[in-house]
Symmetry: C2
Subunit: 366 residues, 2 copies
């Protein structure tokens, strides 16, 4: 059987190994996963209760208008419910945006290293990728590349802060930059980690209401997978001008988010205490990671997220990640991004302590 020609250019996503399988394979008792930027404090207790209270309604299709969650988000961000679409993770909103704007005749633009799904979805529709030479966001370079190919670039991604590197542009610089982008180019502001950046430095804060008012060609993405501790339930959202949202809605499959995810997300939004604790733990523990890097002479990018990225010179990130794995510690090797680096999720205090102990031993070659 033949398939659409585009499939010849696609790779199959290789899932990371499950914790239980790793534990078995390496004979370790406790596996510490610092690989997927999940919330180390777990799930908000309010969200857990919402799940438990609605478990016996699992046979009922979700309310496909998703009006409860959309109304809550609309209030939180000061936008209208018509400006919001819910996705199975913000990933799915990226997928919808790709199908709405990209095709085999056009292209997207991103910085040198950013969230992998931008390119994965673009490849599925045969769109070309433009990336800056700088791995991090460099607005001058992005602008120059955009100007050169503005006829074909129909999506421009800004990941604020950037995954998997951790750096973040200032909101004022982004605003100025957006003024130079054509109205027909959709600028996706991926704010999956923006709550972390805003907590550290309000200059990084993106206000979606202001954003979409000033720039009707922008799409703001948020997620419940990180700060809100619901990575397993797949729920994220897009905020944009109604014209953009309507286009995405045309491509959305009905019932794209589960009823338990919708209920849990509503509850998670209400648990401000959980979010506050998560942010405080993150940045107090982040200091330990920075201190560890300095003590061990490792390069790192000051991070505005819930992870930190270490760079290596002589040592090899694949080798180091494998050695950590044998000790039951999973980190994200960035070799697939062509970097000799690893991304480490900031964990609970004792998880981080275990990481430092094991990694120091590995770095010293013991």
């Amino acid at each position: 059987m033949r398939f659409n020609a585009i499939l010849n250019h696609l790779n199959t996503y290789e899932p990371g190994k499950d914790i239980e399988i790793i534990a078995k394979e390496y004979g370790v008792k406790e596996v510490i996963k610092l690989a997927s930027n999940e919330n180390p404090l777990g799930t908000s207790q309010k969200a857990v209760e919402a799940i438990i209270n609605n478990a016996s309604k699992a046979h009922l299709y979700p309310d496909d208008s998703m009006s409860e969650l959309r109304a809550k988000l609309a209030t939180k961000f000061g936008v209208r419910i018509q400006n919001i679409i819910i996705g199975a993770g913000s990933d799915q909103v990226i997928e919808l945006a790709t199908h709405a704007k990209l095709n085999s005749q056009n292209a997207f633009l991103q910085c040198g290293v950013s969230f992998a799904m931008y390119e994965i979805y673009a490849k599925q529709v045969g769109a070309k990728a433009y990336k800056t030479k700088s791995i991090m966001h460099d607005l001058a370079e992005l602008k120059s590349l955009y100007d050169k190919h503005k006829d074909t670039i129909k999506i421009l991604y800004l990941c604020l802060p950037n995954n998997p590197l951790g750096e973040c542009l200032n909101e004022s610089d982004v605003e100025e930059f957006l003024g130079g982008i054509d109205e027909d180019c959709l600028v996706v502001i991926d704010a999956a980690y923006n709550e972390f950046a805003s907590f550290k430095d309000m200059k990084k804060h993106i206000d979606p209401a202001k954003l979409i008012k000033n720039f009707t060609n922008t799409l703001y993405l948020g997620t419940f997978s990180k700060l809100y501790g619901l990575g397993g339930l797949r729920v994220g959202y897009g905020i944009a001008d109604e014209k953009v949202i309507n286009a995405l809605y045309k491509l959305r499959a009905p019932f794209n988010v589960s009823n338990l995810a919708l209920k849990a997300a509503v509850a998670a939004l209400e648990d401000k205490e959980f979010a506050k604790n998560s942010l405080e733990n993150n940045f107090s523990q982040m200091q330990r990671y920075e201190e560890f890097a300095r003590l061990n002479a490792l390069d790192f990018i000051p991070s505005y997220t819930n992870f930190i990225t270490y760079f290596f010179e002589e040592k090899n990130s694949s080798d180091l990640s494998e050695k950590l794995l044998k000790k039951g510690i999973i980190v994200r090797n960035l070799r697939s991004y062509r970097l000799n680096a690893m991304r480490i999720t900031i964990g609970k205090p004792y998880e981080n302590t275990r990481f430092f102990e094991e990694f120091e031993r590995i770095l010293r070659g013991n």
Copy 2:
């Protein structure tokens, strides 16, 4: 902002109104929903327990290999784990198949009236729809239309039993029919309701292991939304030759099904008692719907599913559905399929009694 031209030809899916909103709007105390073919017995208690036991793990991304559920399905159906892909509902597997096979240069074929998502997804890639004049599956007519356009028909759908009509082909006839279809045409056997058909009459039973062994161009679809009572969690599956599954996997987004859905589905598969009770309730209550139709001189198609479709001549299905709604009873008006008919999900005994009482009054014009 301009969007891909294909969006000009797409309509936005209009979700049905939520039960709570209807109750408020019409001032009814209890709303009875017989519209979405959800399991009237609810969710299996084992699945509910699995959800509750895993609620506090909602922050962890799903095991993206989905090996636990795939292994369970592989054992159940006597196929290999490599023959299985899990989707957010079997809907999503239809979407993946569409993207793998269809494009603006080719077409799909289905009977006159069948599951709406086949066409919705096909339109998104600009593929042409061929439908038989017969609303129900007529294999001779399907074959003749296929032969006429075999160069362009790249997906052929058989919905066994058929939603929203309820009829079902015999497996032996399907097998014979498949022999006449080219290897390059993907035949999707949508078996979302096949457990119901098999329970009523084993001649309707489709065995996916036998199917994909004899016909490497077939894709069998199953779901947890109907018999297994997990419509709200969005989990279904496709079973096919490894070459087909590999193609679908290339287009699958990572983490496309939530961790709670995976756990609940595994548990639901183990709850054979719940499935048995659901089937028994369904067909004993179905007799009441057939009896009601005869008493009120309504046309209906003998159903192999968990719903029944009533046809009207003088009365208007939109009008009747609206009158039922005012009494707090939601059914599925089939006007959007250009039928003067309604599809009614077989409910719990007391729900069906309420339906009969109210509907008899409406039919008599009281």
